[in-house]
Symmetry: C2
Subunit: 313 residues, 2 copies
């Protein structure tokens, strides 16, 4: 059977036709242009789903359902988007509107949760029934899968692991109103800031040379691979912050695995292996449970729409 | 129907006969004397269950099942106690042994999880399907109820919320191997330490007078109620630590309510109300979801065996 998955972001919309085994028979991405408003966005989504069906060589009638992820607070049982600042939507009856316009079953969910579900069904999380998915991107996204099912608490905002507090004393105040939020230490923006600070203090380092044309989330990892001590220290500290939050989540949720996505996860083994080592040393020390895996996400930008499609499978 | 619930602790064992509505028809508590070893402890538990049935005026044959909580890591599906340092048990086939000796269905679970379940079924958590139970005692215990069911991650050790890290820089190293664990700031022992430090710095305060014969977890709350500024500042800081961890848990789990138990929860509204206020101000600020309740536990020492009984209901 075939399903449409749609990942509506504040900037870009990604979508695809997905079968039960996670094969993507067609996909596309385009600018959301949220300023056009809800109706125009919705109609274009439906037109594009029809176009993708054609591209996949299936009739629109053959499509078994439509799943949609949005970056906001969703009452997923009712299919309502309660609030979505990035799209300027509030109290939108999305699932019903899609069903009325297409005759198809539709389910709606928070986008980070969709990505978590995508990785668990079709990506590097597929061996695990209990996992925590974390995106180390511009911000921190997270989603929790328990017993093979997406966990959504009251409000279905998606698990906001980025706003766990890790620095009671001396932490910066976050936009959320708390201070010392994990996100402020482990997002790509945080790593850029940490890198820039190290460059300022160590102007003669290789890291400073690599950053001469600009600092990115990749700079410190790249210079560390070349053996630069300043960069190694930035990376080590960053990994310390990431692991600190992961240990908190392991203590609360005891998952089988952590799946790391987002831009920073492209560093691969240089990021994943030290975290896995530290986490499992901690677990060994406490005899909590067996080995917990840490793996990189494998679906990239497709995770969101593939997970959205999984909502209606 | 009637069920036996047993809460085997390192020091004391509590048990009771409980019906489907949470009525306790008889109960008892005695020293566990763990040094006697597994077999003797188990036989005494069964003898005492039989005695309690008699006291309740029911035949042992009428008992529908036996639930047991132990302070350790339990494979609750298999009924195995994997490890339990307080009782010096390792790889013990508890549920099967009980069934073989009594012919009754038996389920076994971590004790903090049992207490969480007890409060959710019969205590102050009974209006909530999704809650986090936290005991502010000598240490920190916690249990999570999701969708009316006890959540047990891999390993079934119980949610170890006390080992969330809240102080990456400057936190004390915990026995678990991490530093800045929440438990180190919010346990009764931590409050005693915080109180003693304040007394040393403010020897002329009312708090110092109240503590002349010894510092307890109650001292600061008592002096604060008398208007003492030093004590108020200790209490405010303590409540800040508690709320900081609760906000982290709210971000990850989005529960409907937090239920606070343990010795410190006896402070009642002086503890609960400021936490509830801070938490809901934070939630308002972020528009995550509606109001989250914070309530004191209501079953006291009975929560563990009542929740254990609920395992077999």
């Amino acid at each position: 059977m075939y399903y449409a998955g749609v990942d509506i972001g504040g900037k870009n919309t990604k979508m695809g036709i997905v079968d039960d085994f996670g094969n993507v028979t067609s996909s596309m991405a385009y600018k959301t242009r949220m300023e056009r408003g809800y109706d125009a966005i919705l109609l274009e989504v439906i037109e594009n789903i029809k176009a993708m069906c054609e591209e996949s060589g299936i009739e629109f009638d053959e499509l078994s359902g439509i799943g949609i992820g949005v970056p906001g607070i969703v009452n997923s049982r009712a299919g309502l988007v309660m609030s979505c600042a990035n799209l300027n939507w509030k109290g939108v009856d999305l699932a019903n509107d899609v069903t009325n316009l297409t005759g198809k079953a539709c389910r709606v969910c928070n986008d980070a949760n969709c990505a978590a579900l995508g990785e668990q069904r079709f990506g590097s999380g597929k061996n695990f029934k209990n996992l925590v998915f974390i995106t180390l991107g511009t911000g921190i996204g997270s989603g929790i899968i328990l017993d093979g099912k997406l966990f959504e608490g009251l409000g279905c905002a998606g698990a906001e692991a980025g706003h766990m507090g890790i620095m009671y004393d001396g932490g910066d105040v976050c936009a959320c109103g708390n201070r010392g939020c994990w996100e402020s230490y482990v997002s790509a923006s945080a790593l850029v800031r940490q890198t820039a600070e190290a460059v300022e203090k160590n102007p003669d380092s290789l890291l400073a040379k690599i950053c001469a044309d600009g600092v990115s989330g990749k700079s410190a990892f790249a210079a560390a691979r070349e053996g630069d001590a300043t960069a190694k220290s930035v990376v080590e500290k960053y990994i310390g912050y990431v692991t600190y939050g992961i240990i908190s989540l392991a203590n609360v949720l005891h998952p089988q695995a952590f799946v790391l996505g987002g831009g920073i996860s492209n560093e691969g083994a240089d990021l994943i292996l030290p975290i896995k080592k530290k986490l499992n040393e901690y677990i060994d020390n406490n005899g909590f449970y067996p080995y917990v895996d840490v793996v990189g996400a494998s679906l990239g930008n497709n995770a969101g729409f593939m997970g959205a499609a999984a909502l209606v499978m």
